[in-house]
Subunit: 550 residues, 2 copies
Amino acid sequence: MSSYPMSPLMGQMMNQPLLISGILAFAARHYGGNEIVSRRVEGDIHRYTYRDCHQRACRLANALHGLGVKMGDRVATLAWNGYRHLEAYYAVSGSGAVLHTINPRLFAEQIAYICGHAEDQVLLFDSTFLPMVEAIAAQCPTIRHFVLLCGREHMPADSKIAGLLCYEDLIDSHSDEYEWPLFDENSAASLCYTSGTTGNPKGALYSHRSTVLHAYASSMPNALNVSAADSVMPVVPMFHVNAWGLPYSAPLSGAKLVFPGAALDGKSLYELFESEQVTFSAGVPTVWLGLINHALQNKLRFSSFRRTVIGGAACPPALMDTLTEQFGVQVMHAWGMTEMSPLGTACALQLRHLALPKDEQRKILQKQGHAICGIDMKIVDDEGKQLPWDGSSYGHLLVKAPWVIERYFRDEGGDVLQDGWFPTGDVATIDADGYMQITDRSKDVIKSGGEWIGTIDLENVAMAHPAVLQAACIGVAHPKWDERPLLLVVLREGQKLDRAQMLAFFEGKIAKWWTPDDVLFIDALPLGATGKVQKNVLREQFKAHRLPTL
Amino acid sequence: MSSYPMSPLMGQMMNQPLLISGILAFAARHYGGNEIVSRRVEGDIHRYTYRDCHQRACRLANALHGLGVKMGDRVATLAWNGYRHLEAYYAVSGSGAVLHTINPRLFAEQIAYICGHAEDQVLLFDSTFLPMVEAIAAQCPTIRHFVLLCGREHMPADSKIAGLLCYEDLIDSHSDEYEWPLFDENSAASLCYTSGTTGNPKGALYSHRSTVLHAYASSMPNALNVSAADSVMPVVPMFHVNAWGLPYSAPLSGAKLVFPGAALDGKSLYELFESEQVTFSAGVPTVWLGLINHALQNKLRFSSFRRTVIGGAACPPALMDTLTEQFGVQVMHAWGMTEMSPLGTACALQLRHLALPKDEQRKILQKQGHAICGIDMKIVDDEGKQLPWDGSSYGHLLVKAPWVIERYFRDEGGDVLQDGWFPTGDVATIDADGYMQITDRSKDVIKSGGEWIGTIDLENVAMAHPAVLQAACIGVAHPKWDERPLLLVVLREGQKLDRAQMLAFFEGKIAKWWTPDDVLFIDALPLGATGKVQKNVLREQFKAHRLPTL
């Protein structure tokens, strides 16, 4: 792959490719007795060690070989966070095949589409998804083998899927003697499709090299800070950008791994936090809302939970404050994308910030964060000119790193890079200390009279009103200003608010000309497969809305 | 370089080589305002930022180009820890040349030898070393340019070195516009010679890839745990295995860097710890002895110093206790070698250890530590058979990692690997949790009646006696047992001790048959260039010693 010139004098260091199998082999040898605990779909708690995991991953690698899976072939999973899914992570990629994690929250036809696009040969899935798989199996002609992730005792008496295999039987019939093959570290390792709010999902095809480098960079003290003294629970799903890399970074650092399976409600999570003495967790804001509500309602405390990383969406300041001040859980914002493996930034304080007043620190911690080691980023205007890092200039955010995609699988979308940089589609500011804050999506930003209005700021103000449950702001055509903001509001149950009250709430909180031209109260916001508001749907729905300011 | 097969499906990630220039460029862009503070040879304190450092490294890269330095050429340094040395680290390697850091504690003829062996083209050196360089210049015909690391005002009125260049003048005359070249990451980046207790020094030739991977792995939370919230002082010299990689890992994580220059006495170090609010430092045990003695004598406390990593030799338990209990400085043992870039193990506790009693934790922390992420190690017997990880079986320690050498520069010493593993020359145990403890050097271990006696254990017992300043144990020929231990002791000033008292002190502390057969009291132990006891000299000196047990 390297097309770079060599020096007349090459280094004389061991030539070892960076392979995903090396991570689990390292954990099995050096942290062999450390635990992996899973709440199973079957309902019970399963526990074993990295040594056991490695042994079963070897069996699975032999089994995949037995099923005719060759280097480069795609093996798909539809599964919750659990030990069998982890075995698949290592056996599939480690043996040279490509792990394709499918998001079960996609529509059935989208799943069938990506299985076909990926040309998946084998599908491993949890019993939760049996009805869905039965429904789409006929539309997935490339899949030669369907494997249900359970033991014989949980296999259905009969299934619409001919030749449905039982995972435990499959791996039991194979040896745990397996030598992980060595191959070029730039070989494909795993495949993850973006949710694709418009058009078909597009695939990010990670390499072994990118995955291993991301595992190192994302574990560093400035980033997720994962160590062998941690008990780590990835609540973020393994079907969503590889659970932010934790299935790789936790074994790399020998951390105890705790998998919540399908039970993501506050009560189930709380029980697992306590019984497994979880110290560090990762998830989207909604998960923490559920957990914190459960804890508040039942007057519960965390005895070991100390740190969480929150990504996927900005953490509401109130939630951050509750976690920090009431529960003593340090909250770290992180930001990334499927196309970035996913981690780009993490928000940790630097030496210079430690003496600042709490309030100043709080302002920094609400940003998306600082580039993790190895990431480069810049903000540019519509013409591609770099903008200053002053915390107020905002522009399109572009990134670069060995764990950022160069193009999509099968060249969907054509050339994506701009002059070697990946355009994230986000609009952001970067301050003088290098902290980035997302102000909008490029396609959502409202262009009013040649200036930009960031919709996230407007939504945050609206959502700070006690009567407001959700808010979304979109641009609507305006003959004089090109676009002006329209605010769409979902009220909390039993609450009342009118247009004038809502608009009055903005006074003094933002520049006057940013104030929305109109407010509409609606019943619900349209959400995509990953829980994000679909603004394209809103723009379509309200494109004919006549602003009262016309 | 990669000779591994490619998958039919390659990943589609950005193809970026891991280059040393990327580290400083990252720090300048993302931690541009963070400080680098140096105590200069000139005596004063110098401070600037990563942004400044990058700018001056660019000037130096242009200057080296102007001096005719090409890719792969060796550029040597004879310098203390300081900002100009750091600029050389990045300008030399970053421009594609090879940084050869020379240990000024070597004998002059050894220095001349390695300059010739390395074919150094340029030598950058601190004024401390001017007399030495003047003395050996004639013996270094490959060196075309001598550059004194100082400003014009500190240049000698005249020098025996014709055409001696002034560093500040040199870089001032060049632009700070420089584009770091991109080249194969396996290209040579730096060269470090082992001290070589026997034979000529041998060179370890690091690559860009090995250096960057080591920077990541050594910064991880289980290892040195370096972050942007740290103020890091490398006391370990930049001429000794690149100061354990801190000149790379600190910028990678945006840590403040504090360089002590030539002033390594307790008083100077203490002042710098306090004035620069150092949080983390790294050095050999003797440095900390000096610092702690100064602090104790003057009843001083550390206001910011929290963690130190100690390597090069095992930290005496008493020193570890003093640092931890009296000064609140957490001590981490680390172990490595020039041939390993250097870090192999670091001693941090795991989740399972956190509930152990202090005494049990203390025992773990006195080991050399756990393999850092990416290192593999094993212990084998004389026949190469793997020995169990039970904490008591001990054998030759072998290691593997992308930052371990494959051979020495110019193939000195021939094939060094054994079946792909690097033999460290150490004898060690590894316990069930993966913690390694060095018990001896392979060549120092005493083979008595087919069994091995580790000399380090014997020396530790002897040095625990209050009258003993230093102790060394060597094997002496014995007709029945092949070898038996002879203990050589240096007493503390004014202390008295005889053979019988010394031997009685061993009772109950070790296996009876390990007890030395004889004790000799001597004035001093012979030390090598890096401060290690030269046991080969002792063995030569006492080879005719007749044991009383014959």
